[in-house]
Subunit: 288 residues, 2 copies
């Protein structure tokens, strides 16, 4: 038994996943789907969410604390920043906080997926207010030769958390936001064929968005894009250990969840995002 | 000039007003209306909003820090906790943090106004999730012999902040929430004739609620109720200095606004809540 545990510990890297809340569980869900052999430690900084309304300085400080917790206390060897706001505003600060660890955000994979999907080169992005104000998607898309129009959709996160996933109000709000995007796109002579969902809550609305967009428009789910990018990045560093199916009977992937507050809400709503029970969530104090 | 300033300083008490965000500016607006002669210091703990999703322990710690800032650094002689969540979960902790200062929350004045308005003794309350879960209105109304049904309306704050005040989606959401309340009230044999708006954002939706309720139902705006209670409490302690119109030319009430983050958003959206420009908002660090 001791030997087995040790061998597994050496062979099975821990991937740390961080979000300001529990929306990033959609990214964890995609990661587990693509790399079921890894172990995962997820922290939601729920005491200080939402990051979307906070300044770059504050977000960088908060995110660095969570990254250090995952690496120093949970032994994470790779980090996925499953939070668009933190990826947009604090990725460099996080890399500085854990300089020896590969860190992957959600912006670049989303932009890369948009590049692969778009034929016209014209892309629409819907995200939180802070992500849009950072223009991180605009910059990442521009580097790939894409033209981009961004729009904030501040009602979508509360609608998802209210559980109004397949709900007429949600469809109406999505229609209003998309109409505003289309109107602005029209003014700029855009022929947009790709819509990036730039918030980790939005994968739960993927179906609603796919119904609402015009025919021929591809909806990019940045959680899925990030998981695919993680497979490439992390598998390249540890060989085929992560994605290789176990020779023994497959067992449920090991996931440890932590939150800085609101464990009850995390446990209650988290399963909807993870697509399976989140189990017991451990409260941690990051000192703020 | 020096003499004038000194005399004014002695005669004009400072009222400290605290909220997790800037919704409490609706309470400040009503306070200024009723007591234009006072000076005001308002702090919005915007770095850590919303309190509505946080635990009692965390809210108590945050609120106490803001109260101490208003008293120790801004010289507040009275405190209004213009935040339903903090009033519901942390009023005792705040009173302990500033033991020599009279502190008024928003729950008791709202319940008292409901008692005065209701003939049937059956009252409905709509508030944030945390306020409802605290059952603070239920308890305060029960003390006054009222039966109460509470409901969380988590989409209303984001709708107000999106600026969708007079908007079909907002009317639809209000209708859905009220229908759920009415349905539950019907099951309990309630004959509710009073609806308490138990969140400082909701006064901006007062008109929408007044249009949506059945004829004969009174809508209680807890911001207004709190300001009226403050007049009684504070004027009783300082004589008539606060409400007495100045003998000299009336001038704009002095208001200093502070925030722990997001000064830009505070300045941009705050005026809608205060009903006049909030002016320059000063960033303060409460240490985490």
């Amino acid at each position: 038994m001791m030997h087995d545990t040790k061998a597994r510990s050496q062979a099975t890297p821990t991937i740390g996943v961080f979000d300001s809340g529990f929306g990033g569980l959609t990214v964890l869900r995609s990661l587990i789907h693509h790399m079921p052999q890894a172990r995962y430690a997820f922290i939601g900084d729920t005491a200080r969410l939402p990051y979307g309304s906070k300044s770059r300085r504050t977000i960088a400080r908060y995110a660095a604390q969570s990254a250090q917790f995952l690496v120093q206390e949970q032994g994470a060897e790779f980090l996925v920043i499953a939070c668009n706001t933190a990826s947009a505003l604090a990725l460099d600060a996080i890399k500085e906080a854990v300089p020896t660890i590969p860190v992957l955000g959600v912006i670049e994979p989303g932009a890369e997926a948009a590049r692969a999907a778009s034929h016209t080169g014209d892309v629409l992005v819907i995200a939180t207010d802070a992500t849009v104000q950072s223009h991180a998607y605009l910059a990442a898309c521009k580097q790939r030769g894409l033209r981009t129009i961004e729009k904030a959709g501040p009602l979508l996160v509360p609608l998802v958390e209210e559980g109004w996933i397949d709900h007429p109000v949600t469809r109406e709000v999505i229609e209003i936001y998309l109409n505003e995007l289309r109107s602005e796109a029209g003014e700029h002579g855009f022929r947009a064929d790709t819509l990036v969902l730039g918030c980790t809550h939005y994968p739960l609305l993927r179906s609603a968005f796919e119904h609402a967009v015009r025919p021929g428009v591809t909806v990019i789910d940045s959680a899925e894009s990030t998981a695919q990018a993680a497979v490439k990045l992390f598998n390249g560093r540890v060989g085929s250990a992560l994605a290789r199916p176990s020779a023994t009977k497959p067992k449920q992937t090991e996931v440890r969840c932590f939150a800085t507050d609101s464990v009850e809400k995390f446990e209650r709503l988290g399963s909807r995002f993870l697509g399976r029970p989140v189990g017991k969530v451990t409260l941690v104090d990051l000192g703020g």
